[in-house]
Symmetry: C2
DNA sequence: TATTTAAATGAATAAGTATTCATATGACTG
DNA sequence: CAGTCATATGAATACTTATTCATTTAAATA
C-alpha cells in the first residue's frame, strides 16, 4: 500500500485514480458548500422563505421570526454578502428582496425531501 | 408598535401574520437545515460525490480525498447517522454506498448553481 | 432641535464542529 | 498465535459561528 489504497481485494486503483481526477477542484467545492451553508441555518432559511412570499423590512422579519432585530440584521448581512438578498433603503426602513432564484429552487427541493 | 411590526408605511400586518402562520414549524425547518448542513462540509460533499461514482472503502476514500483515515471515518459516521450512506462489512473492509438519491439531486443542482 | 424609530455593527460569549492523536476492535496472514 | 491491516471511536484542540448586548447612524417627528 504505497498509494494509500487498500491491498485487499482492490484491482481498482485505476477507478480510484479516475474518481480522484474527476473530483471538482477545491475552489468549486468551496463555492458549492458555501451556498449550502447559507441555507443550513434555521434563521437564514426562514428569512429566505419569508422573503420568497414578499419583500419585507427588518422589523417585519424580526416579528415573523420572533427574533431580535440585531440577530436578524446579522443574518441578513450574511445573505447579502452571498448575494442571496438585496435591500433598498426606504426612508429609515430597509426593504429586503430575494436576489437569487436558484437558491429558492434548492430550498424547495430541500423542503420536499425533508417532508418525505 | 405593539406587535413587533413597523409603524411606518406598513398596512401589512395582515401579510406579516399570514407569512408567519405559513412558516413551516421548527421541526420541519430543522430537518431541512440538517440535510443541507450535511452537504455543507467540503469533506462530506467530496465523499458523496465519490460514492456517487462507485461504492468505495474507507481506505480508498481516504486516498481520493487525501485525508486521514480517521477524519474520513468520522465524517462517514455523520453521513451514516443521517442515512445518506450505508456500508457493508466485507472481511476487514467496509464498503460504503450512497443511500439517498434525493441528496445527489440536491448536490447536482448545487454544482450547477455554483458553476453558474 | 431633541427625541424617537429602523437598522447596522463591533465585541463578547456560548455553542457547535472538523481534524488530529491515541487507542481499540476485529479480521486476515505469516 | 503474534502481528498487521482496515476501520471505528473517544478525547483534545482549534476553528467557526449564532446570538446578545451596547452603541452608532440616519431618518422622521414632536
Amino acid at each position: 500500500m504505497t498509494d494509500g489504497t487498500c491491498d485487499v481485494e482492490n484491482p481498482d486503483e485505476k477507478a480510484v485514480a479516475e474518481i480522484k481526477s474527476e473530483m471538482p477542484d477545491h475552489e468549486l467545492i468551496f463555492k458549492i458548500t458555501d451556498n449550502f451553508k447559507a441555507i443550513s441555518d434555521p434563521t437564514r432559511l426562514k428569512i429566505l422563505l419569508a422573503l420568497y412570499k414578499k419583500p419585507l423590512c427588518v422589523c417585519d422579519l424580526s416579528a415573523i421570526l420572533e427574533m431580535s432585530q440585531s440577530a436578524v440584521s446579522h443574518q441578513l448581512r450574511v445573505l447579502r454578502d452571498k448575494n442571496m438578498v438585496r435591500f433598498k433603503k426606504e426612508g429609515k426602513m430597509a426593504r429586503y428582496y430575494l436576489d437569487d432564484e436558484h437558491v429558492i429552487t434548492l430550498i424547495k427541493m430541500g423542503v420536499e425531501h425533508a417532508a418525505e
